[in-house]
C-alpha cells in the first residue's frame, strides 16, 4: 500500500513522460510548478471550495441532526431522505446537476424566472460555476454529517440535559455549555474528514465543468489529472500530489495541536 506513495515522492523528482524514460531532475518539477499561474489558480480554487463546503455542510448537518434528535413523526423516513445522496455515484449526481443547472432549460432557472428573478448563468460563467459546485456538494454531503452528529447526540446521557433543565438553563445555554463541548471530538473529526473529502473532489467537477469555464473550477486534483493523463507529465503531476499530501498533513497536525490546546485551556 505504501509503494505508490513512496513512488510518488520519488517520481516527483524526475522528468517522466507517460511512456518515456525518466531522468533525475531534482527539484526542477517543483520550481516549474511554483512558477505556473494555473497551479496557483488551482490552489486558490481548492481553498475557495474547501471554505465553501466544510462549514456549510457541518453547520447544516448539525442543525438537522439536532432537529431529528427529537421525537418527531416519520423521523426514520426523514433521516433516510437526507441520507440518500451519500450512496449515489458522483457521476450520476454530476449529470443530474448539469440538467438542473442548465442555463436555458434547467429547472432552477425556470423557477427563478417564474418568480420574476433574473436567470443565473450557473455553469457557463466563471463567477457562478464554483458556487454551483458548492451547492451540489452540500446536497451530497449533508446526510453524512447529519448521521455522524446524530450518533454523537444520541450518545450524550439525557441525565446531563435534564439536570441542566432543573437548574433553569435555557435551551441555548444547554446547547452551548453541555451539548457543544461534548460534541467537540466529533466536530474535530468531521472537520478533518470534510477537508479530506473536499480536497479529494474530482468526479463531480470532471463531469460538471471539467475545470472550466477557463480554469475557474480547476482544483489541485484536477490539475494532477490534467498534467498526468492529458499532458503526460507524470513527474510534475506527482509533484502536485506531494504538495497536496504535505498540505493535508500540515493542516491535520496544526489543527490537531490547536484543538488540543483549546481543550487544555478549558
Amino acid at each position: 500500500m505504501f509503494v505508490p506513495i513512496i513512488g510518488s515522492f520519488y517520481m516527483s523528482l524526475n522528468d517522466w513522460t507517460l511512456m518515456g524514460e525518466s531522468t533525475f531532475v531534482g527539484l526542477a518539477n517543483f520550481i516549474d510548478l511554483f512558477t505556473d499561474g494555473v497551479f496557483w489558480q488551482a490552489f486558490a480554487n481548492t481553498g475557495y471550495y474547501v471554505a465553501g463546503t466544510v462549514p456549510t455542510t457541518m453547520g447544516l448537518g448539525l442543525l438537522i441532526a439536532i432537529g431529528l434528535n427529537r421525537q418527531l413523526p416519520g423521523r426514520t423516513f426523514l433521516r433516510a431522505i437526507y441520507f440518500v445522496p451519500v450512496c449515489i455515484s458522483l457521476v450520476a449526481v454530476g449529470l443530474i446537476s448539469l440538467w438542473i443547472f442548465n442555463d436555458s432549460y434547467g429547472v432552477l432557472n425556470n423557477l427563478l424566472t417564474t418568480v420574476e428573478l433574473p436567470a443565473v448563468p450557473w455553469l457557463s460563467s466563471a463567477t457562478w460555476a464554483m458556487p454551483s459546485l458548492i451547492i451540489v456538494t452540500i446536497w451530497i454531503r449533508l446526510g453524512f454529517n447529519m448521521v455522524v452528529y446524530l450518533a454523537a447526540l444520541q450518545a450524550i446521557p439525557t441525565e446531563l440535559i435534564q439536570a441542566a433543565k432543573v437548574d433553569g438553563a435555557s435551551s441555548w445555554q444547554r446547547f452551548r455549555y453541555i451539548t457543544w463541548p461534548l460534541l467537540a471530538p466529533t466536530s474535530f473529526l468531521l472537520v478533518i474528514l470534510n477537508v479530506i473529502f473536499s480536497l479529494h473532489v474530482f468526479d463531480l467537477i470532471l463531469v460538471m465543468t471539467n475545470g472550466g469555464p477557463g480554469f475557474s473550477t480547476t482544483v489541485l486534483v484536477q490539475y494532477i489529472y490534467r498534467e498526468a493523463f492529458q499532458s503526460g507529465e507524470m513527474g510534475s503531476a506527482s509533484a502536485v500530489g506531494v504538495v497536496l499530501y504535505l498540505l493535508l498533513m500540515a493542516f491535520t497536525l496544526t489543527y490537531w495541536r490547536l484543538s488540543r490546546q483549546s481543550t487544555n485551556a478549558v
Binding site: 517520481m11 432537529g67 457521476v91 425556470n110 474530482f202
Partner: protein, 295 residues
C-alpha cells in the same frame, strides 16, 4: 475511540416510543422544527424527483419553453431508446463483475488483515498499523499516477483486475475489522489451537462466524465503492468494451448532448441498484457511517 458494530438497542426502544406518538402531530416549537425538516427533506428529494420526471417525459416537452413540474404523459420508451445508443449491457456486465469479485476479494483480505492486526503480535505491528491508517489521508489522485504505472507494467490496462487488485486491501475495512476483533477473548482461539486446529481453520470456523455484523457493514460499503468507483476505471479502462457504468455515463454526457430525457433515464437506471441496496440495508449503512465517524 472504539468502533462498535452492535445493534443500537437504545434506538430501538426510542422507535417503539415514537410509534406510539405517531398518531398525534407535534405541537408548538416541535411543529415548527418538524415543518422545517419536512421542507428540507423536500429540497433534498427534489433533484431525484426531477431526474425521474425528466426521464419519463416525452422528449419534445423539454424545450418548448413551457415549464411544468409534472410530466403530461409517461414516455417509458425513453428508456429503450437511450439504452440502444451505447452498449449499456456490456457496461452493466463489467460493473457487476467488478463489484461482485472486488467486494468478495476486498472483504476477505480485510478480514484476514484485520484479524492479524488484532490477534497476532509480530515485530513492528503497531507501526505498520499506524502507517496503514495514515494512508486514509492520501487522496487517490495523489497515488493515481504510480498506481497506473504499476497496473500498466503488469499488463492489466483494460482488464477488470486492473481495477480490482489496487483496491484489494482497504485501510478503512482493516481498521473496522481490527477494532471489532480486538475485544474478542483469546481463549476461543487458544482452546482451538490446543485441539490441534490449523491457524486458517481457526480463522475460518471460529473467527469468521463471530464477524457477521462487521462483514455486513464491510460488504455494503465495499459494494457501494466498487459500483460508484470512477477515477481508477477512468485511467485504467480505456477501451469502450471495458467501460463500467459510471464511465459509460460520463461518456454519454457528450453523446446525448441535448437528449436530456435519455441521459436522465440512464442515470436513473444506474442508481437503482444502489437505491435498492440502500433501502434494504439502511440500518447497517447509517451505523457504518456513524461508527466510522466515532473513531
Amino acid at each position: 475511540m472504539v468502533v462498535e458494530v452492535q445493534p443500537p438497542t437504545a434506538e430501538r426502544t426510542d422507535r417503539r416510543r415514537g410509534a406510539k406518538q405517531r398518531t398525534r402531530l407535534p405541537r408548538g416549537a416541535d411543529l415548527v422544527i418538524w415543518l422545517a425538516l419536512v421542507c428540507g427533506a423536500g429540497i433534498m428529494a427534489f433533484p431525484l424527483y426531477w431526474m425521474f420526471a425528466t426521464a419519463v417525459r416525452p422528449a419534445g416537452e423539454l424545450f418548448t419553453g413551457e415549464f411544468d413540474l409534472i410530466p403530461s404523459a409517461l414516455a417509458w420508451s425513453n428508456f429503450s431508446e437511450a439504452w440502444g445508443k451505447l452498449p449499456w449491457g456490456t457496461f452493466y456486465q463489467n460493473s457487476v463483475i467488478i463489484a461482485v469479485i472486488g467486494t468478495c476479494l476486498t472483504v476477505f483480505i480485510n478480514l484476514l488483515a484485520g484479524y492479524a492486526f488484532a490477534k497476532y503480535s509480530f515485530k513492528g505491528r503497531d507501526v505498520i498499523f499506524i502507517l496503514m491508517i495514515s494512508t486514509l489521508m492520501v487522496p487517490i489522485q495523489v497515488i493515481l499516477v504510480p498506481t497506473f504505472m504499476v497496473v500498466s507494467e503488469m499488463g492489466l490496462v483494460n482488464s477488470i483486475w486492473g481495477v480490482i487488485l489496487p483496491r484489494g486491501a482497504e485501510a478503512f475495512g482493516i481498521f473496522l475489522v481490527r477494532q471489532y476483533l480486538v475485544s474478542m477473548p483469546n481463549e476461543l482461539m487458544e482452546s482451538a489451537r490446543l485441539d490441534g486446529a490449523s491457524e486458517f481453520r481457526i480463522f475460518w470456523s471460529i473467527v469468521l462466524p463471530l464477524c457477521k455484523p462487521v462483514i455486513a457493514v464491510l460488504t455494503i460499503f465495499t459494494f457501494m465503492w466498487r459500483w460508484n468507483d470512477f477515477v481508477l476505471p477512468l485511467v485504467t479502462m480505456q477501451d469502450q468494451s471495458s467501460f463500467t457504468v459510471p464511465l459509460g455515463l460520463n461518456f454519454a454526457k457528450g453523446l446525448y448532448y441535448t437528449d436530456w430525457t435519455g441521459a436522465m433515464a440512464m442515470t436513473l437506471l444506474s442508481i437503482i441498484p444502489m437505491l435498492i441496496v440502500f433501502v434494504i440495508f439502511q440500518r447497517s449503512f447509517v451505523q457504518g457511517i456513524a461508527s466510522s465517524g466515532m473513531k
